[in-house]
């Protein structure tokens, strides 16, 4: 018995040593691996898009020559962590390295769920990356105060900022921090809708013209606003017996089709589709609840619990029913306000969807706006080289296509939209999206507030509660939220 243990032990130890040897060797590729890495990256670029071929073919890092300036590109606090995307991103980094001896760009992809923690750990230990991206405004706010003001580098390198509309440039010039980002990808909002569901209900499709009117079934023309949307959403909400929400005997426990889906990822966004606003009053430290946002929240709450035109919170979170993140993708929602980046899952909704204008509120239309870019951390040890990498990434068209973002550069937008049409069998009215940029919410809902992270945490708590609990006194809830938010702001901190 003891002998067998002994022999087994030796065997296991030997195997362990072999594994350890193999393990460490994959972690430290020699400099001589560089040429082969370049060759293999070309080969897999040719074998486009097959994720199975790529990962083993591309070694993530030729480590570069000693003496090289090392620039680290940290992904993915936004999109970019899908294996197919990682492949392209690594190729882009490799291409830069080939073209720029003396600078070594290494790309690090962290899955979205852990990326924030990982970045905190890196920054906290003084080992932060240089470039972070693609990252949205909100994602960057989580690390507020740590972004480098790019204006000096922009001036030094004579970078042309005039190619962007001034509104998008000012998105990144937040009070006191300087120009912390350069516009890259923009995602305007539209109203996605399913034509077949309108047809089945005998309703006209929503208007593609912004700020226009809608023809009701009885022929009357009404403004295309949230009241109208509510009326037709009731007709588009159907239970399993085919009764819509206006009919007697409608069974709210067995709804199989919903009329409308707002953007409910956080309360600010929901409100921003009514009107641009901010929690921060003009003095910079008092909490305000914008009237339009309060109206939006009432509409939202009643939409779920009274009118039943929207899915409830638990249904939204149910990954069986809603695996893709947005109920519109299930094909069971007639209308949904969302950003252009939601194209990632739109095919699941079927082949009859199209874009329309979002509804107006009190005569004015606002379509909330998202934007992604790459940023440089203040702690970067090589800002000049980092800026060089930054401008390279901003100009790379493969990356932009990968992320599905509309170029911020106006002259490139038409071509981009034409390119998207190739993925769909039905003709989408892309012009709606292009026009949507003008209706962006300024100030953007993701703008910085005091104690940004804690504020976000607070509104998420309330938002989740409202979506899951009928019978609340919503005005009281909003008052509570305001008081608690003010307390957090007064306490200070992040």
């Amino acid at each position: 018995m003891e002998r067998t243990i002994g022999r087994l032990g030796v065997l296991i130890a030997a195997a362990g040593l072999i594994f350890a040897a193999c393990g460490s060797s994959t972690g430290s590729p020699a400099a001589s691996a560089e040429p082969s890495a370049a060759a293999s990256s070309e080969a897999s670029a040719a074998a486009s898009g097959e994720a199975s071929a790529a990962p083993s073919a591309i070694t993530a890092g030729s480590t570069g020559q000693p003496g090289d300036v090392n620039i680290v590109w940290f992904c993915c606090l936004g999109t970019g962590d899908a294996p197919e995307q990682v492949t392209v991103e690594e190729q882009v980094a490799e291409a830069f390295n080939q073209a720029n001896p003396g600078i070594h760009l290494s790309f690090q992809a962290y899955p979205y769920t852990g990326a924030r923690d990982a970045l905190s750990v890196q920054i906290g230990s003084g080992n932060g990356p240089d470039i972070v991206g693609p990252i949205g405004i909100g994602g960057a706010n989580a690390f507020h105060g740590q972004w480098l003001d790019l204006q000096p580098l922009i001036d030094k390198n004579s970078f042309d900022m005039s190619q962007f509309p001034t509104s998008t440039v000012s998105l990144y010039n937040v009070g006191g921090e300087g120009q912390v980002g350069i516009p890259y990808a923009v995602y305007p909002s539209v109203l996605f809708y399913k034509a077949s569901l309108f047809k089945e209900a005998g309703l006209a499709e929503p208007p593609h013209q912004w700020n226009s009117t809608y023809t009701m079934p009885d022929g009357t023309k009404v403004p295309w606003d949230y009241d109208t949307v509510r009326k037709i959403a009731l007709l588009l909400t159907v239970d399993k017996n085919g009764k819509d929400a206006t009919e007697a005997g409608f069974d709210p426990e067995n709804i199989v089709q919903w009329g409308f889906e707002p953007q409910r990822d956080d309360l600010r966004q929901t409100g921003a589709y009514w009107k641009a606003g901010s929690f921060v009053a003009s003095d910079g430290k008092t909490v305000q609840m914008p009237d339009a946002w309060v109206a939006a929240w009432h509409y939202f709450y009643d939409g779920i619990w009274k009118d039943r035109i929207m899915v409830t919170g638990p249904q939204f979170l149910n990954t069986d029913f809603n695996p893709n993140g947005y109920p519109f993708f299930t094909g069971k929602v007639a209308m949904s306000e969302n950003y252009l980046w939601s194209l990632y899952g739109i095919s699941d909704a079927g082949d009859d969807w199209n874009m329309a204008a979002t509804p107006s509120y009190q005569g004015q239309t606002t379509a909330a706006f998202n934007a992604d870019t790459f940023r440089i951390l203040k702690g970067s040890k090589h800002p000049d080289e980092a800026f060089k990498v930054l401008t390279y990434l901003l100009a790379n068209q493969d990356l932009l296509k990968l992320y599905g973002g509309m170029p911020a550069v106006e002259s490139k937008q038409d071509a981009f939209l034409q390119g998207l049409q190739a993925d769909y069998t039905q003709t989408i009215d892309w012009n709606v999206a292009k026009q949507g940029i003008q209706f962006a919410d300024v100030p953007n809902f993701e703008s910085y507030t005091p104690a940004y992270n804690q504020t976000l945490n607070l509104i998420n708590t309330f938002g989740t509660k409202w979506q899951a609990t009928p019978g609340l006194d919503l005005d009281k809830e909003i008052a509570d939220m305001k008081t608690q938010m003010q307390a957090i702001w007064d306490q200070g901190g992040n």
Partner: protein, 374 residues
Amino acid sequence: MAHVTAADLEDLTARPRLFGRRRAGTTGSRPPRERGDRTRSFVLTLLAVVGLALFLSPMLRSVVYAVKSTDQITQAGTPLWPADPVTFAYQGKELPLLVVPLPDGTIRQLALFEPGRKSSMFVDPAAPDAAPIAWQGSWRTLDQIWQFAPHWENFAKVWDLIDYPRLLFNTLAIAVISTIGTLLSCTLVAYGFARFKFPGRNLLFTLLIATIFLPTAVTIIPTYTIFQKLGWVGTWLPLLIPTFFANAYDVFLMRQYFMTIPTEMDEAAAIDGAGPFRTLISVILPQAWPVVIAVAIFHLVYAWNDFFGPLIYLSSDPDIQTIALGLQRFNGVHYRDPGLIQAGTLMTLIIPVIAFLFTQRFFTRGIVITGVEK
């Protein structure tokens, strides 16, 4: 509760002989099963089966979902078993087949062509060229026709999308090496705490346990800094090296276990001239087999599923990552396909389960030290 003192036990157990003689009466056949035993067996087994069924039922759900299509999972009112809707191709579209009761009393399977709120148009698959049939009523109240369709290709898809072989190898290597490190170091340290008296023993043992009082979230930054300064970030070393220096959980467990083993054999071995190492290997370990297996299994499973460690230290290089990381990334991308998610999860379970199947056999063995069978 009455205390069992050492004296009681000494009365109950005959003093074990050393090295050679078996005690009479402890080996040999079991007494013949009595009737009461059989009923007891039956009841107990039944209880176990019911408990197990309840306990494992969510797994059944996972298994079933792993072979369903996404469409089926997201739609309400579909069969429990994996099924696809039966469709009919008409004018370039796949139309679903419904069971339609017609005004003339017959019930036919027709394809839904144009759904409408109050009336719909159907096409008869048996007569596709005939004019579409109008039907009054709400089509949503009709039953749909399904066919059994397990989607085994979900597993193949996961295999490709997740680079399974490499992740499997990485995870296996890390899990095995760290388990070996844990076993080696924890056995030694536990033996020291269990069998030796030395100044400061209690203080050090308390300190050992106290190391788990601080949540990882808090110590991660300084710990990461240490490894970063050592240049170990981006390699497996931060996950492997510390395991060779023992951890509080396993030392505590093994120490407890070692302390249940009577010291008589130790003393006998000492009299025979065995040093501490020899005693550990020849006397303690053979009696402590179950806890060694337990620690091995725990650590294997822990290393297999560990996400945070690989996230922090391995994310910079996809070639060295583990399955936990790969699966998380996969889920983040493919959460549109719940079927794929379930298939992926099931596939990552396989190795630990096989490892357990292999090692749990040891639980059936008795512990045999030369002389006494337990």
